[in-house]
């Protein structure tokens, strides 16, 4: 009996492993394929095989991609714009969340709901009017053209997560501080914010992931290289090297790399952060 059970268990485990591996292969194989052909030469793509051993490993594809794809500049822009958006979203959402959940005023419920409505509005619905507005006030082709919509559309989610967290903090903590003569601003900065580390991580990840993918706004509002974001490496490059597939593959692999590396390194934090957000949501 014991042995049979054991056997069953190990068979079960193998089956589980097969299922999980199959899903893993589906999820990861396209990327393996991408890297494989990015190291070949363009003509080798026309094969019937799944993966190939390139006749000669073409590292120079990556050099071309790196230099001509403006990868460094665009990566810097992406990181900068996203980090700024995250920072602003966190500050504004903590402030507003505190005011709407802790402070005593008549309109708190209304204002909170108003800000949360933003969560339901699709970012692309503002694409056309914003273009005209930004053109009029002269901020197209500047960092503001991206920062404003990115912040505005990440704010509701941030506000939502922050307020559900703040309402779970016991009031006594603040009261002690109040007796010591702290003002509201100091309470938020010194007492509340440090308690909200996990929420901040969650909001950071959500905002980052949302905006990291965005490029319709970027491609409509930006024209010079100064603020273009990472997806442009791929977009511009495919035109520039339209007849060289291998180099196109290389630039795709190269632009995917930073996010993947960051994710793998911070895997546990990110998972935890999303988990915290998921439970609240």
């Amino acid at each position: 009996m014991e042995i049979v059970n054991h056997k069953n268990k190990s068979i079960g485990k193998i089956i589980k492993f097969i299922i999980l591996s199959a899903v893993a292969i589906v999820q990861i194989f396209p990327l393996v394929w991408l890297i494989n052909f990015s190291l070949a030469s363009s003509n080798e793509l026309f094969t019937n095989g799944l993966l190939i051993i390139p006749a000669k490993i073409r590292w120079d594809n990556y050099i071309t991609a790196f230099v001509d794809g403006n990868v460094l500049l665009y990566l810097r822009n992406s990181l900068l714009i996203n980090s700024l958006a995250v920072l602003i979203v966190i500050v504004i959402s903590i402030m507003a969340a505190f005011a709407c959940t802790r402070m005593e005023w008549k309109l708190s419920g209304f204002v909170k709901n108003l800000l949360l409505v933003g969560m339901m509005i699709p970012i692309h619905a503002t694409l056309l009017p914003n273009y005209v507005i930004y053109q009029k006030i002269g901020i197209t082709d500047t960092i503001w053209a991206l920062l404003i919509p990115y912040v505005a559309f990440s704010l509701p989610q941030g506000m939502f997560l922050m307020s559900s967290f703040i309402s779970s903090i016991p009031k006594e903590m603040e009261e002690a501080a109040l007796i010591d003569g702290c003002g509201i601003y100091r309470i938020i900065a010194i007492i509340i914010t440090p308690l909200m580390k996990s929420s901040i991580v969650t909001v950071t990840i959500m905002t980052f992931l949302n905006n990291w993918n965005e490029f319709m706004m970027a491609s409509t509002y930006l024209s010079s290289k100064t603020w273009k974001t990472l997806p442009f490496s791929v977009l511009e490059f495919t035109g520039e090297y339209s007849s060289n597939y291998a180099v196109q593959f290389a630039v795709m692999a190269l632009t995917a790399l930073p996010a993947v590396v960051i994710y793998v390194l911070l895997n546990k934090h990110i998972t935890k952060g999303i988990a915290a957000g998921a439970v609240k949501g």
Binding site: F46, L72, S83, Y131, V132, T220, G239, S243
Partner: protein
Amino acid sequence: MKKKLLSLLLVATMVTSLAGCSGAKSSDSASVEEKVTIRVFSNQTDRKTGQGLIEQTLFDNYVKENPNINIEVEALDDEAYKTKFKAYATGNAMPDLLNAWGQPSFLNEVIDAGLLAELDKSSYDDYGFIEGSLDGFSRDGKLYGLPRNTDVMAFYYNKKIFEENGWKVPTTYAELLALAETINEAGIVPCSMDGSDKWPLSIWMHDLIAKINGESKAMLEASVTNADFSDPSYVQAAQLLKDAVDVGLFQNGFETTDYGTARNLFANGQAAMYYMGSWEMSMATNEDVLEDVRNNLGVFAMPVVEGGQGAATDIAAWNGGGYAVSANSEVKEETIALLNYMFQPENWSKLAWENGVCMSAQDYSAYLTGDETEPQKAFTDIVVGSTSITGVTFNDLGTSEFKTISEDGSQQLVIGALTPEKFWETMAEACK
């Protein structure tokens, strides 16, 4: 450990941002003197070969000769270019020098909205522009742009594959269709087609209308104006295109194949023919094109249709791509000066020809050397021998909305969602 990672990331962000910042600054400080910046919006994304190279070379030369000028180029692929161009038009904030197509569908609305600067027609008298080539850029007798090339639509074919298999260049449309079957049997794609951009399909039809009727320019212009596409030759042309699809002339999935992929199928020897404009003649010198293809490049025009009145010399040709200047440009004069520089005959025309890139819209006969590439010679022969040209094809004769509808329609035609009759009915509807 975790903290270290985070701080490492932060540092990395800062370093890259600093690196970027300092880079930007140093270039700024060099331009302290009163520099004029001309913003160029181009559809030539590839700045290292073809027309993009010529354009960039001219810009570089101009900046060298005029140190106070700074040229900033933003380049996008055709379709993305057209979309962004319209976005710029909507925002009323055009860059200074623009790529433009001398076609009503592209230009009329923009000219009517007063977004393009008028050019002084008489100043181009000795630039050697071919007669009629400025028409596309003119409206109500005023000139708004200059054409870059004379564009001819034709088949590129791989001579080596043709010879090895004993195939002959088709002289009639029926032969072309018959050839499709033979080539398919050999396991090669007969003709590579860019169906996702849709306009090659429209041009194909117009090309056939020319073969059926001989002259086709005035006829289609009238059809678009009168919203009347009842001429039987139109349905016939649409049917002939559909026939080509049905016999498998084009690669599988051609209706969603984009420009680059279609060309690369041919450039990598996967397809025996490729229906595209003369601007692709630079394949003959492009290192990225497979050597076997590069050195065996032939060209022939759309073959005649049996029973048609047109000859093979009634060709699909027009003066399409070119440049225009924004009316609201703050540096309008400087931009026009740059444009004029580019089109002095010894610049664009000469460079384009000598590099085997394209045929300019100007008289380039002075630059013939006899050492031209095969496609260069073939296209020259086609143009010199032509008895009539189509001019701008029908999809580009109406408004931009008509263009969208007609090109979407030609795609629906080839996938069988519209019958040839229904297709032209839709066109008539769209013109109203």
